[in-house]
Point group: C2
Chain length 275, copies 2
C-alpha cells in the first residue's frame, strides 16, 4: 500500500506496482459512460465503407475498441496504447481484437487501413496536426479517419490545473509541463488544413454537460486523464497536496447546483475525414 | 411571378400564392442534410422505451417525422405545424403519420404521450421554458421529452440580422421583432429548471460547422428559417434590399476559406428528459 492509499486519498497510478506512472484503468473507467459517449458520437458519424482493417489509436481500456468491434464485425481491429495496465483490461474486454503496446507518436500504420479511429488520444502528441496528415496518408483511398480531442484548455478545470501547478513547491517542475500541453485549435483552422487532403471533412464541437457528485468527482475525472503529466512528476505526498489544492479551486469554479450536483462542461472537437 | 422572382432574387414565401407569409419548404430543404443532422443527433440520445404515441412538434416538411417513424415503427406518430405548405410536404413524405395544423404555443398534448420531440421549434415560442414544463407534465411517467433549439443569438449571422434590421427604412417595424426574439439560455440554467421535474436530464450543446458555397448560401439558410419574422413585415422590394444588405454583412463575417467555401458555425442546445 502506498502512502497515498494509507491516507485514503486517490491511488492515481492504479496500485499495480508494475509501473509508477502507468494509467489507472479503474479511475479512468469511473466515468466510463461519459467518456465512451464521445467515442460513440464520433463513430456514429463515420460513413459506411467496406472495412477489413481498423486501428484504434490510444485505445485505453478498450471501451472504444469494443464499439469498433461491434460496428465492423468482419474486420480485424487493432488497438494501440502505451499503457500495459490499460491493454490488459482491453484484451480481457475485447478478446476478438488485437492489441499492440506502442506510442502513437512513433507508431506508423501500414498503408491501406480502412478506418483509423483516434478518440481522445492525438492531443497527447506534441504535434497532432502532423499526426493527422500522416494518418490520412496511411489510409486507403476512400478510407476514414475519425478523431476526437478534448478542447478544454480554457475551461475552469484546466485554468485551475495551471494555477495549482504554478503556485507550489513543485512550480519549477510543473510549469514546463503546463506550457507544453497541447492547445487544440479552432474548427476553421483544421478545415483549412484538412480540406485539401480529403474528399470530405466533417467537423463539429460538442460541449457535454456532465452532472457529477461534487468537486471531488471532477478531481477524479482529471486525475484519471489530463492531470497525469503533472502527477507523474510529484512524490506521493506532493500528489496529495496538489490534489487537495486542486479540489479547493474546483469547488469554487464548479458551484453546487440546487440538487447538490456539479456540472462539468466538457468541450470536445471532432473530425471525420474521408480520403 | 412576384417582383422578387422577376429580379431573380429569393422567393422566400414558397410562391404557392396560398399565404403570403407561409414557410417555403423548398428553401428550408435546400439544407436538408444539415438541418436533419441535429434531429438525428437528438433522436440518437432518446433512451428506448415502450412507445405507442409520439408527437413531433414543429414537424416542418416531415424530415424529423420520418426519422421518428422509422425509430418507433409500431407507434402512432403525430406531426404538428402551423404551415400548410410544410404539412403538405410532410404528409406526402411520411404517409403513415398523422399531421395536425396547430400552433405549438397553444396546442396541448393529451396526457400520457410516450415521446415528445421538438426539434428546432420551441425557440419560436414567447416562453419556451414554460412550454418545456407543460410538455413534461403531459408525458406519461417514464416518457421522454427531446428538445433541440438553435442557440445562435450571438453568432455573426444573427448580429448581422439585427444590424440590418436596425439600419434601414424598416427599422421602426423590425426593431421590436429583433428585441422580441428568444435568447436561448445556458445549459446550467436549464439543468436547474428541469432536474427537479425529471428522473434524468441529459444536456449538451453542439456547434456544427457547415461548409457552404458562399455568403449567398448563408442568406438562403436563414431566409428559410430565422429571418422569417423580419421578412414577414417587408414588402417584396424591401425584402430584396434587406437580403442584399444582409448578404453584404455576411460576406464580411464569413470570409471565404482557401477552397472557396464559407464555414457556418451553428450552435444548438439539446435536452433529453426522462420523466
Amino acid at each position: 500500500m502506498t502512502a497515498a492509499q494509507a491516507q485514503g486519498s486517490l491511488d492515481v497510478n492504479g496500485g499495480s506496482g508494475r509501473h509508477a506512472s502507468d494509467w489507472n484503468s479503474k479511475l479512468y473507467l469511473k466515468f466510463e459512460a461519459e467518456r465512451t459517449r464521445a467515442a460513440r458520437d464520433l463513430l456514429a458519424r463515420v460513413p459506411y465503407c467496406e472495412t477489413r482493417l481498423v486501428f484504434d489509436l490510444g485505445c485505453g481500456p478498450g471501451n472504444s475498441t469494443e464499439l469498433l468491434a461491434s460496428s465492423f464485425p468482419g474486420a480485424a481491429i487493432v488497438g494501440i496504447d502505451t499503457s500495459d495496465n490499460m491493454l490488459d483490461v482491453a484484451r480481457a474486454r475485447v478478446p476478438g481484437a488485437s492489441f499492440v503496446n506502442a506510442d502513437i507518436g512513433d507508431w506508423r500504420p501500414p498503408e491501406g487501413a480502412d478506418v483509423i479511429f483516434a478518440n481522445a488520444s492525438l492531443h497527447f502528441l506534441a504535434d497532432h496536426r502532423s499526426a493527422i496528415t500522416w494518418l490520412l496518408h496511411a489510409l486507403r483511398p476512400g478510407g476514414r479517419l475519425a478523431v476526437q480531442m478534448p478542447n478544454n484548455t480554457h475551461e475552469p478545470s484546466h485554468a485551475a490545473m495551471r494555477m495549482v501547478a504554478a503556485d507550489g513547491p513543485w512550480a519549477s517542475r510543473l510549469l514546463p509541463i503546463a506550457k507544453s500541453l497541447t492547445v487544440v485549435g479552432q474548427a476553421e483552422e483544421y478545415y483549412d488544413l484538412l480540406a485539401p487532403l480529403c474528399r470530405k471533412v466533417d467537423i463539429w464541437q460538442t460541449v457535454y454537460v456532465h452532472p457529477l457528485d461534487g468537486a471531488g468527482d471532477v478531481v477524479e475525472w482529471f486525475a484519471g486523464s489530463g492531470l497525469r503529466p503533472f502527477l507523474d512528476l510529484l512524490t506521493p505526498a506532493e500528489t496529495d497536496e496538489f490534489l487537495a489544492r486542486y479540489r479547493e479551486r474546483l469547488a469554487q469554479a464548479y458551484p453546487g447546483r440546487p440538487n447538490g450536483k456539479v456540472l462539468l462542461r466538457y468541450p470536445r472537437i471532432f473530425f471525420v475525414l474521408q480520403k
